[in-house]
């Protein structure tokens, strides 16, 4: 099946317009071009910008709850003016407001920013351009994927404004808090909306993922064998596979939850007494069952977040070190190993739920096994950098920063993977520090690297470099200053999800430290706003891109015009003759994938 057939309708109409649409332009209106667009590049931008809006909301929430943690006794009357009584009574963030903020922050950053905003953006933008296709396998489904995400966003956003507040039981939505409307204010309408939003979100992810897989496997241009694909595509491929296989399981968990909430079933509930309501009739349910279903998605989800970042970092490191990626096949193999292991380790989130210790030891083993492919990747990134002719562009800085964060965060993962250590560390700030560094900030860095690197392709203009360096250094140093001290707090036993530590004798000594962390968090947040200003300013006023291939890169997207139309290449789709990593070969700085292999060329 050709690209044309998919882009322009059904197979039988081939011959009818076989030849005359080389310069094909659809009749485009504002609506079809910017709103209900089926062009993967526009959909990518829609995902990116919606993700940015969520990043601002989620980030602002962390600033608010850090304000509470840093200044628990201080009153900020403007907070009440701004947010109202429910969230900030007498200038203090309320306890219910705090839990609502933390939960929404977690949900939004994990799913809306780093899943939809990250893989939605770059899978859409890069897959057709880098495999040499005119668009996705199904542009229509692709458009639906975005609009389901948009709908999910609206519902989630509206949950912030309901009278009883948004869901407040943590992003993991464990029952009974998530299953019983009477359990807490946030468990009422807020939870209903949370569930609807997440169900829409799952549909969006599935529609997107199906398309990414079909496009990568079926729509590659001539000569683009699987082992000539850039690593970005391999990473996005495994990401999509993980999503397609794990999100449905989460959905099944949600469906049972909906029945428990609304139809009086007892899947997760048993022998519960609610204050002011009395004993509930539910019997025989098991809250642990939900945890199994949740973490069967939940763990793959962290790789859904991380793999696209890994793929883009591999590409950006190689391009800017002017060296082939070290161990291309090992990179694919380790992605594969990570994808398989991702499905076999979910119970490491449940070591302290009364899990059979023997079973626990198997999960310890499988979890620690992930260190092997992870170490391979780190080794290969470092060797790619080794003696490279490095160009320190902002994208490259963020890519190197990613490697640093991944190492730091990965090492603490080895601690947490031990079920014995986890008894002490579970639900403490050590966990917060670990997952923020390895998944949260690292993936954010991957995303920034991607935005700085492909911005010229997206908008035909450059981002401002100076602002880029400021953005990088402050975020990099800030991330470590915020999350490094949290390890110590966690080792000292400071639990996560507490509203006020100053009233605990054992954690009083952390008041100063918490204030320090909060201060840095606000500075880091401010710098992200600077990045956004750079982003939007540069769309219209940035320095113009004048050459087709500004980074001297080998991959196909740089053979398309500076402002590619729908269909990406005006003439024929280029043919591919080599892998994507011929940098510094035979005395040449780079050799694009489209160049035929010369007779006297050396082998890589």
């Amino acid at each position: 099946m050709s690209n044309e057939a998919v882009l322009h309708g059904v197979a039988s109409s081939h011959d009818a317009h076989g030849d005359h649409h080389h310069e094909h332009h659809h009749h485009e209106t504002f609506i079809s071009k910017y709103v209900f667009s089926m062009d993967h590049k526009m959909i990518a931008k829609q995902f990116l910008i919606t993700g940015m809006v969520w990043a601002v909301i989620g980030g602002l929430m962390s600033v608010l709850f850090r304000l509470q943690l840093g200044y628990p006794d201080q009153s900020f009357p403007w907070l009440e003016d701004l947010l109202g009584k429910w969230w900030a009574e007498k200038g203090h963030i309320t306890a219910q407001g705090y839990y609502a903020l933390v939960t929404t922050h977690g949900t939004v950053l994990v799913f809306f920013v780093l899943t939809a905003g990250l893989s939605g953006t770059f899978a859409n933008f890069l897959i057709p351009l880098q495999v040499g296709a005119r668009d996705m396998a199904s542009p229509f489904m692709n458009m639906l994927s975005y609009w389901f995400f948009f709908a999910a966003s609206i519902v989630m956003l509206s949950s912030i404004f309901v009278e009883t507040g948004p869901f407040s039981g943590g992003w993991t939505a464990y029952p009974p808090l998530s299953a019983l409307g009477d359990a807490s204010p946030g468990s009422k309408t807020g939870m209903d909306l949370w569930l609807v939003a997440m169900a829409l979100f799952v549909v969006s992810s599935l529609l997107g993922g199906l398309n990414y897989i079909a496009t990568i496997l079926n729509m590659r241009t001539k000569g683009m064998s699987m082992t000539r694909l850039p690593l970005t595509i391999w990473a996005l491929f495994f990401t999509a596979v993980l999503g397609v296989l794990s999100f449905p399981v989460l959905l099944s968990g949600f469906i049972l939850l909906i029945f428990d909430r609304n139809f009086g079933t007892s899947f997760y509930l048993s022998d519960i007494f609610v204050n002011g309501v009395g004993a509930l009739p539910n019997e025989g349910g098991s809250a642990i069952l939900f945890q199994h279903l949740f973490w069967f998605l939940g763990h793959p989800e962290v790789y859904i977040i991380l793999l696209p970042a890994m793929g883009m970092v591999s590409e950006i490191l190689s391009v800017n070190a002017r060296k082939p990626i070290f161990g291309y096949m090992a990179m694919i193999g380790s992605l594969f190993a990570i994808a398989i292991l991702a499905f076999l380790v979910w119970a490491h989130h449940m070591f302290v739920t009364g899990l059979n210790p023997f079973l626990g030891s198997i999960f310890v083993l499988l979890t620690l096994l992930i260190a092997v492919p992870s170490a391979i990747k780190v080794f290969n990134w470092l060797t790619t950098l080794w003696r490279g002719n490095i160009r320190f562009t902002p994208a490259m800085m963020f890519a190197i920063g990613f490697v640093s964060l991944f190492i730091s965060g990965g090492l603490t993962g080895i601690w947490l993977g031990n079920s014995a250590l986890d008894i002490h560390l579970h639900d403490t700030y050590f966990v917060i520090a670990h997952f923020h560094i390895v998944m949260g900030v690292a993936s954010m860095f991957g995303m920034f690297a991607g935005v700085y690197h492909w911005y010229p392709k997206m908008y035909g203009r450059y981002l401002n470099n100076t602002l880029g360096y400021i953005h990088f250094w402050i975020t990099m140093i800030g991330a470590y200053l915020i999350f490094w001290p949290m390890h110590y707090e966690g080792l000292a036993g400071m639990p996560r999800r507490y509203y006020d530590y100053s009233i605990w004798e054992s954690f009083k000594n952390f008041v100063e430290l918490n204030r320090f962390i909060s201060t840095v968090a606000m500075i880091v947040f401010a710098v992200q706003i600077l990045f956004l200003l750079n982003f939007f300013y540069s769309i219209w006023k940035g320095r113009k891109v004048t050459s087709q291939n500004p980074w001297g890169s080998n991959t196909l997207e740089w053979t398309a015009p500076i402002h590619p139309g729908h269909g990406n290449w005006p003439g024929e789709i280029p043919e591919v003759h080599r892998w994507a990593y011929d940098y510094g070969k035979d005395g040449r700085e780079f050799i694009p994938q489209t160049e035929a292999v010369g007779a006297d060329e050396s082998h890589h």
Binding site: E4, N211, A214, K222, P248, S252, G253, F267, L289, H292
Partner: protein, 193 residues
Amino acid sequence: MMATTMNPNEPKRIHPHKFTLWVAMGSICMMFAGLTSAYIVKKNQANFQEFDLPKIFWYSTFVILLSSLTVQLAVAAFKAREMGRYKKLITVTALLGFVFAALQVTGFKDLSNHGIQFLGAGSNAAASFLLVIVGLHMLHMAGGVIVLLITFVRAFATKTRNYSSMPIEIVSVYWHFVDVLWLYLLVFFIWIR
């Protein structure tokens, strides 16, 4: 232009939409795998009610198998350009879909008449699971019926005659899938009890 991706004379690669359907079916399988493994976990815990499946499920199984046959015959009729027969077969298939759903509902009524409670206070997870799982299967069946009707209408309503058998082939693959899924569920429920 064609040549850049594939030559029509080359052996046919799988149509991307068909391929997408296969991946989607894998995804749906994972959902039911999640539900049925939850069922197993739950069954091994205390307080799990035992009861027999309604007899009517055997009739519905027969009906769904029959519908698989008719949808396959419909594809064959389409390919042979026997549009009259195609129309009839598609109508029969859709009707069988409705009959299947009706029989399932009757099955649940039957259980309910024998005092099995699916929802609300006093319900047991064993019964609730049956309702949720079989209900979700029915939803997938309903999806199949809707898509079937859409392809049916589209094949005749468009001004330009469309001779591609791809849409109906895709629908038939999905239809068989829903059928096999039901067989899996049936065997699962019988086996596990």
